[in-house]
């Protein structure tokens, strides 16, 4: 059994030597997951706010659906995206299978419901607070969506972080659609799975520590940025 110390030393060794393979894998992980979160944000923020503000038939069912989709199993999303982009699938002609693009698409599908649902919940709470005021001011529903999204911008950072956490942590989808191809589609989580299957447990756990540290840093950056901007906005 590998001791934590072994793994920690492995991780330190990789970092201090700026291992080129490690940098490549970390870089791809960041590129894939950050892009997926960006796409999911562009979809999820307006969709979530719209769900909170507009009243229409089937809204309740839609809210339940979006909330449930937060629990989408990555391996199922991976399988669906694989079948769609497979050479014999409907979108096979694009040749996207086993590319980072396919991984971004799969992760966007995983993250979008999380951002949508958390945005809806945040905006819904705000709406309860401000709805009357906004009505008195004569704001139409679209104005309300815009105003509340702007007002909630700092709280919504948490929704983005939740989405980013999901994207960086999942392995099931990127393994299936990316194929864990060395120097092409290998990311942190698939590298960890590979090292585990080689029985190289200290290396696998070391990579896990680096991934955790990375997530920690990203969260710290977002929180720091948020409080800076918040102080600026209110100051």
């Amino acid at each position: 059994m590998p001791t934590l110390a072994d793994s920690f030393m492995t991780a330190l060794g990789l970092i201090s030597s700026a291992d080129p393979d490690l940098l490549e894998i970390v870089g791809l992980s960041l590129r894939v997951s950050l892009t997926a979160v960006l796409i999911a944000t562009l979809v999820g923020l307006p969709l979530g706010a719209g769900l909170a503000v507009f009243r229409f038939r089937g809204r309740g069912a839609l809210v339940v659906l979006v909330n449930a989709l937060m629990g989408l199993p990555p391996v199922v999303v991976g399988l669906m995206v694989y079948l769609v982009f497979s050479a014999s699938g409907p979108l096979g002609v694009f040749g996207l299978l086993y590319t980072p693009t396919a991984m971004i698409i799969a992760q966007s599908i995983l993250v979008a419901p999380i951002i949508t649902a958390l945005t809806r919940s945040t905006i819904s709470d705000l709406l309860g607070e401000y709805d009357d005021t906004l009505r008195v001011l004569g704001a139409n529903r679209w104005d309300v969506v815009g105003t509340l999204l702007w007002d909630a911008r700092f709280s919504l950072a948490t929704a983005l972080l939740a989405g980013l956490g999901r994207a960086l942590a999942e392995v099931g989808a990127v393994m299936l659609v990316g194929g864990n191809i060395d120097h092409v589609t290998r990311v942190m989580t698939t590298a960890i799975a590979l090292e585990t299957s080689r029985g190289a447990l200290p290396m696998a756990l070391g990579l896990g520590m680096i991934l955790l540290a990375l997530t920690l840093i990203l969260n710290a950056v977002v929180i720091a940025l948020r409080s800076r901007l918040e102080a600026y906005a209110h100051g």
Partner: protein, 266 residues
């Protein structure tokens, strides 16, 4: 602002074209990757053939089904009957013997079933079945799983024992080894994966050398008639290389002083 966000997103999505070398996608069994053979062999082949060789390492069953869907140009697998059926069905252009090694039975050094003193793999498995010692199976339709099931034939009804002493992981070789070691169970593995495996615990090879444990690897270029999108030229080029000058490189690959794969093309 929004315009820039879209622009940045588009930039991130579109992969920069890094290499203009032709891409060859290999659907492969895992043992050839886990043992480090590809890390050694493919850079040599890439240079010799000027190809960008990409490997998706999954079990033999999944490799064959991915290739049947045209998601690959070349197959390297180890389940002869399946491979011949694949070519027979028109999915593969042809099948060639590439190399061989052997399967080994591993288990805890304490060997509760007494497999070590068995004179054949059949006897070793029979002892495991009789003593209800834990046997961990791949259960994933891989080449190793197919071989393992053929070995049980006539010895024990493993389907009936599944969930009792016979445990199917439905996972790759590495994951199955980790589980077998965690449970103190026996399992069948190809020798290359075992020799490259680092988390061996107190497990060791308990039976080896039976002719029934022979492990033949085959190579199949995917049929262009079945998959028009396939890169046949590259697949044929790597096949020809592996069956000629590549054979010496396969033989030269060693791990811990042991040769892992033995080239044996006709």
């Amino acid at each position: 602002m929004i315009k820039y966000i879209f622009f940045a997103t588009a930039l991130c999505i579109v992969s920069p074209a890094l290499a203009d070398r032709p891409i060859l996608l290999v659907q492969s069994t895992t043992s050839t990757q886990n043992s480090g053979l590809y890390d050694y062999l493919l850079p040599i082949a890439s240079v010799a053939l000027d190809l960008d060789i990409r490997v998706v390492a999954v079990g033999t069953g999944q490799a064959l089904s991915n290739a049947e869907r045209c998601d690959g140009d070349l197959l390297i697998t180890h389940a002869r009957a399946r491979e011949e059926a694949f070519v027979e069905a028109g999915f593969g252009a042809a099948r060639y013997d590439l190399m061989y090694n052997d399967f080994v039975l591993i288990g805890p050094a304490s060997d509760p079933a007494g497999a070590k003193t068995a004179t054949s793999i059949a006897e070793a498995l029979a002892r495991i079945a009789v003593t209800n010692a834990i046997f961990v199976s791949r259960g994933d339709d891989s080449g190793t799983h197919v071989k393992e099931l053929s070995l049980w034939d006539g010895i024990a009804d493993v389907a009936a024992a599944s969930g009792h002493w016979y445990r199917e992981t439905g996972s790759g070789m590495g994951a199955t080894l980790n589980i077998a070691i965690g449970m103190g169970g026996y399992t069948l593995t190809d020798r290359a994966t075992w020799l490259a495996f680092e988390n061996t615990g107190t497990h060791e090879i308990l039976h080896e050398g039976d002719p029934a444990l022979f492990n033949q690897y085959g190579i199949i270029p995917v049929s262009a008639a079945h998959c028009p999108t396939v890169n046949s030229e590259a697949a044929e080029a790597l096949t020809a290389w592996l069956l000629s000058s590549g054979q010496a490189h396969i033989a030269a690959y060693q791990l811990g002083g042991a040769q892992l794969f033995f080239p044996n093309t006709e």
